[in-house]
């Protein structure tokens, strides 16, 4: 599964996710990727894209749950993302994986409960004309 979330110069957020699913899945199986609120979600506060055991993300409505924890629970992006991925996804969803998230304030969180997740982010330095001053960070393993 692959995905992206972004915030633009107008402060708008967006999320996208795409997948081939799981190896040896049943024909006709649909995972969380095209289910809005499970594998992909965005509103004016946060954007989320997921990867992992699709059924677990559907059971917990993981992507929307991050937004709800922020909106109704007052959690930060980091707190909400971690709670869903490191607690609810495992305990209630019985699955593993991770999410990438960005909020309206430009905070980023990329928690995952598996051994690794291919991931990265780019921050545009809008005060600089030279794009070489933009920040790009990529990582694969835990503790990176």
């Amino acid at each position: 599964t692959v995905g992206a979330v972004a915030i633009d110069k107008y402060g708008n957020l967006a999320a996208a996710t795409s997948t081939g699913g799981m190896t040896n899945k049943m024909v006709g199986r649909v995972g969380d990727t095209p289910i809005i609120g499970a594998g992909v979600y965005a509103n004016k506060m946060v954007a989320v894209s997921s990867t992992g055991t699709g059924e677990a993300f559907i059971r917990t409505l993981a992507a929307y749950d991050i937004s709800a924890l922020m909106e109704y629970g007052g959690l930060t992006l980091e707190e909400a993302s971690k709670k869903v991925v490191m607690e609810k996804l495992i305990e209630q969803g019985k699955g593993d994986g991770g999410v990438i998230t960005v909020d309206a304030n430009g905070n980023i969180a990329m928690p995952f409960n598996s051994e690794g997740m291919y991931r990265g982010y780019a921050i545009v330095n809008n005060n600089e004309e030279n794009e070489n001053n933009d920040t790009i960070v990529v990582a694969i393993y835990k503790n990176e």
Partner: protein, 194 residues
């Protein structure tokens, strides 16, 4: 005000012991390239929606990842792909599911969002809709990759359904169990020898 794009290429049993140095470099180069290309959209005043669509389209084009070309196989050896996209400023969204002939499912998902009153189209209907919007259609064989097919065979051997990047570990485990014959040549454990 910061313009930011974040991407992922999947999670799973991904550790240094399961990935060769060369493959690790391929992933890092790919992630860097896709971030670099998609951040240009934001830098040039493009929208977050356009940036995430382009980032995911590029990820679909790279067979390192389980989406578009490089997708994993179903139990019947076919590829069935899903994609979804959402605009946070309007709550508009679009998705496709179970498609096998749309080169870039994320482009079709965006078209569902932009050109229909619906959110999710599936299977043949999604493919016919994509064709009607001049979105590139390909033969199902376009999505075949040997690496993913090998992973299907291993998954079937063990009767498991596995996450995209867990398949690499499965194949790696198999390699570790290679034994050698009297001449020192490797013998695959699946080989039926006298």
């Amino acid at each position: 005000c910061k313009y930011i794009i974040v991407i992922h290429g999947g999670a799973g049993v991904i550790s240094k012991s399961n990935i060769s140095e060369e493959r690790e470099k391929q992933f890092l180069k790919s992630l860097n390239g896709i971030l670099s290309a998609s951040k240009k959209i934001l830098r040039n005043g493009g929208t977050a929606l356009d940036a995430v669509q382009e980032a995911v389209r590029l990820l679909e084009e790279d067979e390192l990842y389980n989406a578009g070309k490089g997708s994993v196989f179903t139990s019947k050896g076919t590829n069935e792909m899903d994609a979804g996209i959402m605009d946070g400023s309007t709550l508009k969204c679009g998705a496709v599911a179970g498609v096998s002939t749309i080169r870039n499912p994320i482009v079709a998902a965006r078209a569902v969002m932009d050109h229909t009153n619906h959110i999710l189209l599936m299977g043949k209907g999604a493919e016919e809709f994509a064709q009607s919007k001049s979105i590139e259609i390909v033969e199902p064989s376009f999505f075949f990759t040997q690496n993913r097919y090998d992973q299907l065979l291993k998954a079937k051997d063990t009767n498991r359904v596995i996450l995209d990047h867990d398949g690499e570990k499965l194949v790696k485990e198999e390699e570790k169990t290679l034994t050698v014959n009297i001449s020192g040549d490797p013998i695959h454990p699946d080989s039926k020898m006298g």
